[in-house]
Amino acid sequence: MNLLQPVGVVSFMALSAVLFSLGLYGAMSRKSTVMVLMSLELMANAVNINLVALSRFTAPVEMTGQFFAVFSMVVSAAEIGLGLALVLALYRQRQTIELDAMQELEG
């Protein structure tokens, strides 16, 4: 494999798949709420890379994927703000941010 040859959309998609898997692993294995939220950001990042890459390589003039990535960034920013607010509310109630502390409903 020649390293100097131009890379295609497949390379970007493979990178995105690896990044998404790492984020998935983090979201499923960590026990700290903040770490889980960070892993969610990693997954959202991977999705955005995929959108931009497919848009750039298949329909560069329309830029549809870039607009989708912008709106996906908006949603993920809203999600992270609400998620961290939930973490703070949980900390105020339980004095901890471990996921193990959230085992009962209507607490």
């Binding site: 020649n2 390293l3 100097l4 040859q5 131009p6 295609g8 959309v9 497949v10 390379s11 970007f12 493979a14 990178l15 690896v18 990044l19 998404f20 898997s21 790492l22 984020g23 998935l24 692993y25 983090g26 979201a27 499923m28 294995s29 960590r30 026990k31 700290s32 903040v34 770490m35 960070m38 990693l42 990042n45 890379i49 931009v52 890459a53 750039r56 298949t58 560069p60 830029m63 870039q66 607009f67 990535a69 912008v70 709106f71 960034m73 908006v74 949603v75 920013a77 809203a78 999600e79 992270i80 703000g81 609400l82 961290l84 607010a85 939930l86 973490v87 703070l88 900390y91 941010i97």
Partner: protein, 168 residues
Amino acid sequence: MTETVNGVVFLVMSFATIGGAVMMLSTRNVVHAAFWLLEVMLATAGLYLLMSAEFLALVQVLVYAGSVTVLMIFTVMLTLRRRDDAVRPFEPGWGGAIMAALFGGSVTFAIAQFASKLPAGIFPEAAPDVAAFGEKLFTAWMVPFEIASLVLLVALVGAVWWSGGDGQ
């Protein structure tokens, strides 16, 4: 911008991205993990530049590297009482690792299957610049843009509502 994506630049950027993600998940200190997330976000902005999406690179640096990471660090500071609390016990999570590896393997397999139907490495045309992006954003994508701003407003109010303090 260039017509092709340089393989060496792409390799450097993807190494920075994936290496940062691996370091984020392998470090035991939450504060270090937040800084590795910052590195991943900056490397992703570089990837966007590589794909001639300059506006997205700018937004990535502003929103993710700027505010999201700072928000993470603020939350860590507000929820840890002692300095030692930032260091977490080793939690490998083998079940999660197996699930993620299965998922990643299947997605990579699917990409390899469909690789022949996807375009090759050459960029089709020179990409439109930021001015064209803004023009489309405020004409064709006007309504989604307004809805997105409404979503952000509601999320902001909700975040203040949840975290703000009458002690409920």
